[in-house]
Symmetry: C2
Subunit: 204 residues, 2 copies
């Protein structure tokens, strides 16, 4: 590994840490280069701009997530089984990679446009799930409805329930670090999604 790629990786790591803690605006180029042990011009030299570094940091966090979801979704099975696997993958991945929900929240709190790479990942994740729903509608195992809007209703649950886990703990004593509570939550969401997608009795 050359010295240049060492610096590039150090900037990515520092950017990830500081954008996660303080958001896009709150993390200055000065603080990022200082943490990376690089000179002040290193962000421009390696990425072109702070915005491009932000795009690279988001990409380094959301692309492995996209790859994991795709792998899980493409394992063989009926459409409803594959959707349940995707929901479980959302829950477990977001829990095991806390930088991802933390960056999501910081991004929502900022007025920054979503970088193109992250936009494509988000679009791809939605199309992946919508495609499985459409397959289930074709074989009659899933009720009718707009597959992309149904996909949004599905992912809203694991994502939002992960983002608000601290608030849920404080407000209603629901602690997702407790394995039993966590399992009950995931099971309840899976039941909810399964029931929401089931074909109407007259359709089945």
């Amino acid at each position: 590994m050359t010295k240049g790629s060492d610096t590039r990786n150090a900037l990515l790591a520092a950017g990830r840490e500081l954008f996660t803690a303080h958001g896009y605006r709150g993390a200055s180029v000065r603080a990022i280069t200082r943490k990376a042990g690089a000179n002040l011009g290193a962000v421009t030299y390696h990425f072109g701009s702070k915005e491009a570094l932000y795009g690279a940091v988001l990409g380094s966090v959301v692309e492995p997530f996209r790859d994991h979801l795709t792998e899980v979704a493409q394992r063989p099975g009926a459409p409803t089984e594959r959707i349940e696997r995707v929901v479980q993958a959302f829950f477990s991945y977001l829990q095991e990679h806390p930088a991802l929900p933390a960056l999501m929240v910081q991004h929502l709190a900022s007025a920054t446009p979503l970088p193109a790479g992250a936009r494509r990942v988000l679009e791809g994740n939605l199309e992946l799930l919508a495609g499985i729903i459409a397959l289930g509608q074709l074989d009659g195992s899933i009720r009718r409805g707009d597959p992309r809007l149904m996909a949004l209703s599905i992912v809203a649950q694991p994502i939002w329930l992960t983002l608000v886990r601290r608030v849920l703990h404080e407000a209603v004593g629901f602690d997702q670090r407790d394995r039993r509570m966590r399992a009950a939550l995931v099971d309840s969401v899976l039941d909810f999604v399964r029931a929401a997608l089931a074909p109407h009795p007259q359709q089945a």
Copy 2:
């Protein structure tokens, strides 16, 4: 109105604006008092601390929401009708009061504990919805399941879909300012919730 309550209200308004834009940490007491046209000691004098001002600001935003939801939920009707009304109220209230989702996101991005007043409102909203679900389970119009967890699955949808509206627009071209798209989204969520709560055929 006394001069004291004028200053108090000016501090609440300035706090609401600056906490919404910059979060709890990002909004300094100095910036808040300057915007309110008050002296630097006014936050301590009127509220006791910056934390207490934050609690008062959150309360001034979430309490009217709680009152609106309660009013909507308590209008007569079958449990499923009342739940659909609550879902619609979440969508329309959050759209019409953008300070509320903005403050939610800023709060999630901060490491600040949720003030007691806001905790009680959140707990109350969840109990309200869980109570209606439990009534529907008793009369057989709603399937079995933990009413509080089912309530979380329901509210996740209007809240998360409001919080990510800018990202959805950028990433998948879904613009909730377009009345037709917005109506399709709300209808899809209502269909999803209705199907998710329906009693299983063998239960009905």
